[in-house]
C-alpha cells in the first residue's frame, strides 16, 4: 500500500501518476479531507498564476457541496458492477442496462473531471459503484389490524410543517445554495468544475449503497407488487419490475432453501390459482 504524502498529491496534480497509483490516489482524495484540501490549494495556486481566480470563493464551498450531497437521496440503479475508472460517461455500454450507460445520463463527476484543472474547491464526488442484487420476495400478507385500530396508531398532523409552503419553491434548499455558489464562482472563472445541475445526487464509492442491499430490493419489489392494480397507474409498477435488470446469479441463502424451492416447483404451479 503506497503511503500518501504531499508528494503524491502533487504528483497526481502534475499528471505523473499512472494506472493503479493514480487510481489509489484518487480514491484517497475522495476519502481524505486533508488531502483534498491540499488538492484544492494546488489548484488555487495554479489558477492564481494562470489568472483564472474568481473574485471570491466561499471558504467552505466544498463543505457545502458535501453537505448538499449528503442531504440528497443516493440513487440506486441496476447495472453491471462498478464501472472501470476509464469508463467515460459516454460509453455505449452493452445491450443491457449497464451501469456506465446509465451514468451517462446523470451529471456525475467522475475521476477524469477531478483531473482537469479547476479553480477553487475540488469537489469530492466519485462515480457510483453499482451492483446487482437479487430479488427474493414472496409474501403472503395477512392483514393484522382493522381500520379503527389502524387509526389509533397514527397521528394525523392537522397542519404539516411546511404545508403552507407554496408548491413552486425548492424542495432542496441546499442544492439551490450549491448551484448559486457555483454560478457566482463560474461567472468569474470558466474553469470551475461544473456542479451537477440536476438534483440527482451521487452515491460515492464508499457509500454503503454502492453495493445494492438485497434486503432493500426485497422491499422495493414487494412494494411494487403489493400495489399494482390498486393505483391509478395499474400495471405500471409491474412494468417497473420487469424493466429493471436482475442479476445473473440469484442469492439463495442456503442450499437447503434452494433445494426445497426446486423440489416444490412442480407442485407449486397447480397451487397458484387456488391461493387466495
Amino acid at each position: 500500500m503506497t503511503t500518501f504524502t504531499d508528494e503524491s498529491v502533487s504528483a497526481l496534480f502534475d499528471g505523473e501518476l499512472n494506472g493503479d497509483e493514480k487510481q489509489q490516489m484518487l480514491d484517497r482524495l475522495c476519502k481524505d479531507d486533508s488531502l483534498r484540501h491540499r488538492w484544492e490549494r494546488y489548484h488555487l495556486i495554479s489558477d492564481v498564476f494562470g489568472r483564472q481566480l474568481p473574485v471570491s470563493i466561499p471558504a467552505d464551498f466544498s463543505k457545502k457541496v458535501m453537505q448538499a450531497i449528503a442531504n440528497e437521496p443516493a440513487i440506486i440503479s441496476f447495472g453491471i458492477a462498478a464501472p472501470k475508472p476509464n469508463t467515460s460517461a459516454n460509453s455505449n455500454g452493452a445491450d443491457r442496462y449497464s451501469g456506465s450507460r446509465w451514468l451517462g445520463k446523470v451529471a456525475v463527476l467522475n475521476r477524469d473531471m477531478l483531473m482537469k484543472k479547476a479553480s477553487g474547491a475540488a469537489i469530492a464526488a466519485s462515480v457510483a459503484a453499482i451492483a446487482l442484487i437479487s430479488y427474493q420476495v414472496g409474501l403472503l400478507q395477512q392483514p393484522l389490524l382493522q381500520q379503527p385500530e389502524l387509526a389509533a396508531l397514527s397521528t394525523q398532523t392537522s397542519e404539516s410543517p411546511m404545508a403552507s409552503t407554496p408548491r413552486g419553491q425548492m424542495l432542496n434548499p441546499p442544492l439551490e445554495l450549491l448551484s448559486q455558489g457555483a454560478m457566482q464562482a463560474s461567472n468569474k472563472s470558466s474553469t470551475l468544475i461544473p456542479v451537477p445541475t440536476t438534483s440527482v445526487p451521487i452515491a460515492t464509492v464508499d457509500s454503503p449503497y454502492a453495493q445494492i442491499n438485497p434486503q432493500l430490493h426485497k422491499y422495493i419489489l414487494n412494494h411494487n407488487q403489493h400495489f399494482s392494480g390498486t393505483r391509478i397507474q395499474g400495471l405500471i409498477p409491474y412494468a417497473r419490475i420487469i424493466a429493471t435488470p436482475t442479476p445473473t446469479e440469484q442469492i439463495p441463502s442456503t442450499p437447503f432453501n434452494n433445494a426445497s424451492q426446486l423440489n416444490s416447483q412442480t407442485s407449486g404451479q397447480s397451487n397458484l390459482i387456488g391461493q387466495q
Partner: protein, 340 residues
C-alpha cells in the same frame, strides 16, 4: 351589493371547479373500469432516469377473472403474468421465477366515486385538454398535488374507450419522473390463449414463492409500530406482518396512503451482519428512506418526494406491548435464519 356579487361569482367559480374535478374523477373511474374489463393488447414505451424501453401488454377479462401479461421487449425477455391476484414474474436473467399475491383490496379507482372531498385538500383534479396518443383521441387529466409531500400525474385517457393511454409522474418542479405511453393498442373482443402464456416455462429456474406467514407465538400479535407524524391527507391504511423468505424473521409492513400515493414502511429486526439501510435513496420514481430504531431496521418506500419518506422514517414510534414483557424477547431477538 358588490360584495354579494363577488361572493356569488366566487361560489360560481368554486362550483365550476367542483364540476371540473367531478368530471375528472368520473373519467378516472371510467378508466379504472376499462382497464379491468376490456380485452386489449398493445405496445408500451416507457422512460425513467433517461432510460427508454418497451413492453408488450395483453389484458383479458373473462368469466374466470382477469389475466394480464407484460413482456419486456428491450433487452432481457422478463415478463409478468397476473391471474387475478396471483402475480408470477419470470426473470430469465437471474433464472428465477417469483410468485406473489398482490394487494387484495381491489382497484383503488372504484373507491374514488364521489370522494372528491377525500382528495380535495391535497390534490386538484382537472380535465386539462385533449391530445392524440397511439393514434387515438385522448383526454388529459391532470392531478396536481397541493403540497410538496406528494407527486402529481398527467394521465391521458382514451375518449372512445377510457383506456389509460399515457401516464406521466410529475415531480415538484414539473419535471417528468417517469413516463408510460402506448405506442399502439387495440381493443378486441377476444384474446387468443397463446398470447397469455409465458414465453418460457421456467422449469430450470429457481422458484420463489410466498411462504406461510409466521403465526408462531401470541407475542407476535401484540406489538404494533405507529407513526407519530404524517403529512396532511396521509393515513395508515394497512398493517400486515409478513414472513420474508429465507429468514425466520417477521417483517411488519405498514401501508400509508393519501388515496393516490402509496408508501410502504417495512420494519424488521436488524439481522446480525447485514448492511443497514440509512438515509435517503432513490430508485426511479421511488424514494426510500432508511433508519435504525433500536434493534430494528425501518425502511420507508414510496412514489413520493424524499421529504415525505424522510418524515415518516423519522417518526416511527416503538410498539406498545400489551402483555407481560416475558413475551417481548421473541420478537426482538434476531433469529439465525437463512440470512439473505
Amino acid at each position: 351589493m358588490i360584495r354579494g356579487g363577488v361572493v356569488f361569482s366566487i361560489m360560481l367559480a368554486s362550483a365550476q371547479v367542483g364540476a371540473d374535478s367531478a368530471s375528472a374523477l368520473s373519467y378516472l373511474k371510467q378508466m379504472g373500469l376499462a382497464l379491468q374489463t376490456l380485452n386489449y393488447h398493445g405496445t408500451i414505451v416507457y422512460s425513467h432516469e433517461g432510460e427508454v424501453g418497451s413492453m408488450q401488454v395483453i389484458h383479458q377479462s373473462g368469466p374466470g377473472g382477469e389475466i394480464e401479461r407484460l413482456v419486456h421487449l428491450s433487452g432481457e425477455p422478463r415478463e409478468i403474468i397476473r391471474t387475478n391476484d396471483v402475480v408470477t414474474c419470470y426473470l430469465p436473467d437471474s433464472r428465477s421465477v417469483l410468485v406473489a399475491n398482490r394487494n387484495l383490496n381491489g382497484h383503488m379507482l372504484a373507491k374514488l366515486s364521489a370522494d372528491y372531498e377525500l382528495f380535495s385538500n391535497v390534490y386538484t383534479f382537472t380535465v386539462a385538454g385533449e391530445g392524440r396518443i397511439a393514434g387515438k383521441r385522448a383526454r388529459l387529466i391532470s392531478v396536481e398535488p397541493k403540497d410538496q409531500y406528494r407527486y402529481g400525474y398527467r394521465l391521458w385517457l382514451g375518449v372512445d374507450a377510457a383506456l389509460l393511454l399515457k401516464s406521466e409522474l410529475i415531480g415538484p418542479r414539473g419535471n417528468v419522473l417517469e413516463q408510460f405511453m402506448f405506442a399502439q393498442v387495440e381493443i378486441v373482443d377476444f384474446i387468443p390463449d397463446a398470447m397469455l402464456k409465458p414465453a418460457m416455462s421456467g422449469e430450470s429456474f429457481a422458484w420463489y414463492r410466498d411462504k406461510s406467514p409466521d403465526t408462531g407465538g401470541a407475542a407476535i400479535q401484540l406489538a404494533h409500530w405507529g407513526v407519530s407524524q404524517l403529512p396532511v391527507g396521509f393515513k395508515l391504511t394497512e398493517y400486515t406482518r409478513q414472513h420474508m423468505p429465507n429468514t425466520d424473521v417477521s417483517t411488519d409492513h405498514l401501508v400509508i396512503s393519501d388515496g393516490l400515493a402509496f408508501i410502504s414502511v417495512y420494519i424488521e429486526p436488524i439481522k446480525p451482519g447485514s448492511q443497514p439501510i440509512v438515509g435517503p435513496l432513490r430508485m426511479g420514481a421511488l424514494n426510500i428512506h432508511g433508519a435504525l430504531l433500536g434493534d430494528f431496521q425501518v425502511t420507508v418506500v414510496g412514489e413520493v418526494p424524499p421529504t415525505t419518506v424522510k418524515m415518516i422514517a423519522e417518526s416511527i414510534v416503538a410498539p406498545k406491548i400489551d402483555v407481560p414483557k416475558l413475551d417481548a424477547p421473541k420478537i426482538s431477538a434476531p433469529k439465525m435464519g437463512g440470512g439473505g
